[in-house]
């Protein structure tokens, strides 16, 4: 019995050292996204985007002496902070990942950052967490995101409204973190710019009737109604009731409201309304869609380009620091993402790695025109839309 135990222990030790020996040739990146839960329909394309970048780098053989990049997936669930934290804990302590690509939803991202990333000193780059709260979260310089904060969208909305000479608006938002965050960010920015928000009222999703909410909004008045909701949910209900009662004629629709459903639901009734949602005219996005098609997934999926960029930034920063240790490469993430330097587009990661090895600066543009500002979050690119003849079309980029 004693012998058996000894043998087992010895084998375990040997396996352990064998893995440790090969470790130098490997870079492990944890991909933690809500593969189950409310975002389960878009996370597969996000994970595939990140893994496509990893495969590209592995195939190039340029990263840190031809290291092999391995993806380790974990489930953030999007809503359960406890489950997400323990999944991330597993990634860091059991799988020993060198960096984390994720998480997706703002709530779980904050939890993982506070409990796992900071505690273990691991860099994490989220492709899709947009809560303004994360801009000011304690992160020891470890946290970045390739998605813009909703605070940024508040500024964009203010700019668009002011360019059209709108001075007073009524505001309604869906009663959750997204809606409240966006509404507060917009109200702060709009009032700072001299505009008036006559009322900021929440609406619950999933109701049949929004006439009471619209009654209050109409009573407060305003030139435009800003609807920070969801197109499949209460947002459309509010617009319906507002049009029917003649409370408002012009609407501003933020990112959660822009969708082909709007054309179907309202058509010509929305003529003259406008809005904006994330999007870029950069050639990077078109390239990414091509690459994704070749790899067999949908590159137009929400946050799939941002996921590719998040993974790419991790690996480029590692190359710039010549180390896969988070403490070393965390300071290089901003450098590789921003100008000055040679612009790098999707599919050109090998070129980027080579330039970095030679000591040349690069400016990673990527699939979503990455430009990191502030505490390390994407400046965000928005396309402005306007309704005309019953359909919306892009009229410009901001």
């Amino acid at each position: 019995m004693k012998k058996l135990l000894m043998a087992t222990a010895a084998t375990a030790l040997m396996t352990g050292s064998a893995i440790a020996g090969g470790h130098g040739k490997e870079v492990k990146i944890g991909v933690i996204l809500g593969f189950t839960g409310p975002l389960e329909s878009i996370t597969p394309a996000m994970g595939a985007g990140a893994e496509m970048a990893m495969a590209e780098v592995t195939a190039s053989g340029m990263l840190l002496d031809a290291a092999k990049v391995i993806s380790v997936r974990a489930d953030s669930t999007c809503i359960d902070a406890g489950a997400a934290t323990s999944a991330a804990e597993r990634l860091v302590t059991a799988d020993k990942v060198d960096a984390i690509m994720g998480a997706d939803c703002s709530g779980v991202t904050g939890a993982i950052l506070a409990n796992v990333a900071r505690a273990n000193g691991v860099v994490m780059i989220s492709p899709s967490a947009t809560s303004p709260g994360l801009s000011t979260a304690e992160d020891d310089g470890l946290f970045f995101r390739t998605a813009p904060s909703d605070a940024r969208q508040g500024v964009i909305i203010t700019n668009i409204l002011q360019d059209r000479g709108v001075e007073s608006v009524a505001l309604t938002y869906t009663n959750n973190d997204y809606g409240k965050g966006l509404a507060d960010a917009f109200q702060a920015s709009f009032e700072a710019a001299g505009g008036t928000v006559t009322i900021s009222a929440a609406h619950e999703d999933g109701k049949a009737d929004y006439s009471a909410e619209v009654g209050a909004l109409a009573s407060a008045g305003g030139e435009v109604l800003v609807v920070a909701g969801y197109v499949d949910q209460g947002g459309s209900g509010v617009i319906r009731a507002a049009i029917d009662t003649g409370a408002f004629e012009t609407f501003y629709v933020p990112d959660g409201m822009v969708g082909s459903k709007l054309n179907e639901n309202f058509g010509a009734e929305l003529n003259g309304s406008y809005g904006a949602y994330p999007g870029t005219d950069s050639i990077g996005s078109a390239k990414f869609v091509e690459l994704a098609e070749a790899a067999g997934f949908d590159g137009t999926g929400a946050f799939s380009p941002e996921s590719y960029d998040a993974a790419a930034l991790i690996m480029l920063a590692m190359q710039a620091a010549d180390s896969k240790d988070s403490a070393d490469f965390k300071d290089h993430v901003m450098d590789v993402a921003n100008a000055p330097g040679v612009e790098i587009f999707p599919g050109e990661l090998a070129k980027g790695l080579e330039l970095l090895k030679a000591g040349t600066a690069i400016d990673y543009v990527g699939a979503s025109a990455v430009e990191l500002i502030g505490a390390g979050e994407s400046a965000g690119n928005y396309q402005e839309i306007e309704f005309k003849d019953g359909v919306y079309s892009t009229i410009g980029y901001r």
């Binding site: 109701k207 009737d209 009471a212 209050a216 009573s219 003649g246």
Partner: protein, 337 residues
């Protein structure tokens, strides 16, 4: 004078018309609840989902008609499909009565047991509806959307405020009036209706005078199925159809029935309008109306809103509690709960 007209139009547009049509929908729902309570002597929690089931059947038939190209001119096709929805719902409630409620009735089960049984039926019906039609919003209205739209009204009157009167609101009100008249005629003038009232007033005496209880129960269920389908379809037409909505609707419907006095059909109607008007008026922001009516220097800066619209359902709760505390039998002296 113009200011008063504007104030009245704004009030009608945002308070009176929505509250009247909502009240009519609640009243139809509450009539069903109150009839079950009067005859079968329990609170039927499955009523909301019976409404959902009836509306769902109507929607399915409406879609069938629409695919055949049958329409009802300016009126919604759903009105043509409603009789089929009613028949299907009648089948459903007779089925549940025969295989669920009858068992407990023969055992002379206590009302509270029947309430729990109806809760079980509610969950099954809810699942069934979501299984068949899915949990999402369904659009099935067609025909003219407005009797008078805001733009037409403004052009017609030259007032600053607009008034919208939707076709569905008009249909709701007209249908509710017709249904209520027919129901009261049935209860007061026909032999079966009279036997139902007799059974409701005193069960033993009714049995002694030769009234067949099973027949009374069956007729009650048939009427309730028709009321539920009409209420559900009108609500779905006017607002939108989503299976979960009807679960939420259960609270104001019960509040209406209890406020009016359980077991009293007249009370159910009064209760429906009481609840609807309280909900709408208490959560309405009166700033606009007040600005027209009071002198300019008194014009309010705030919204003059008693409760935020988030608390709409709380209003039904509060009214319910007040009525139960001070007048447990309801406004029209129904049975004490």
């Amino acid at each position: 004078m113009i200011d008063f007209l504007n104030a009245f139009v704004a009030l009608s547009n945002f308070v009176l018309i929505p509250a009247i049509s909502y009240g009519a929908q609640l009243a139809l729902g509450a009539l069903g609840v109150t009839l079950i309570y009067g005859i079968l002597r329990f609170s039927n929690f499955a009523h909301g989902d019976t409404m959902a089931f009836g509306a769902m059947c109507t929607i399915l038939v409406t879609w069938l008609f629409q695919s055949w190209g049958i329409s009802f001119g300016p009126l919604p096709t759903a009105l043509l499909a409603m009789p089929f929805g009613i028949l299907a719902t009648m089948g459903l409630v007779l089925f549940t009565d025969r295989y669920v409620y009858k068992f407990y009735r023969e055992q002379k089960a206590k009302p509270v047991i029947l309430v729990i049984v109806s809760l079980g039926v509610m969950f099954i019906l809810n699942g069934l509806v979501r299984f068949i039609i899915g949990p999402n919003d369904q659009r099935f209205s067609d025909g003219e959307r407005f009797i008078i739209s805001v733009r037409e009204f403004k052009a017609l009157t030259g007032l600053k405020e607009g008034l919208a009167f939707k076709t569905t609101q008009g249909i709701t009100i007209v249908t509710a009036v017709i249904v209520v008249i027919a129901l009261f005629w049935f209860l007061n003038r026909t032999r079966t209706g009279k036997s139902m009232r007799a059974y409701s007033d005193n069960e033993d005496l009714a049995l002694l005078s030769g009234i067949n209880p099973e027949r009374v129960v069956m007729v009650t269920w048939l009427i309730v199925a028709a009321l539920a389908t009409i209420a559900g379809t009108l609500y779905g037409l006017d607002k939108s159809f989503k299976p979960f909505i009807f679960l939420q609707l259960l609270l104001p419907v019960f509040a209406a029935a209890i406020v009016g006095g359980l077991g009293s059909p007249l009370g159910a109607i009064a209760g429906g309008f009481t609840i609807a008007f309280s909900e709408v008026m208490i959560t309405y922001a009166w700033k606009k109306v007040a600005t027209y009516v009071v002198p300019e220097s008194w014009a309010p800066d705030t919204l003059v809103q008693l409760l935020s619209t988030d608390y709409k359902f709380a209003v039904s709760f509060v009214i319910l509690i007040i009525v139960l505390l001070f007048r447990p039998t309801g406004l029209f002296a129904g049975k004490s709960v």
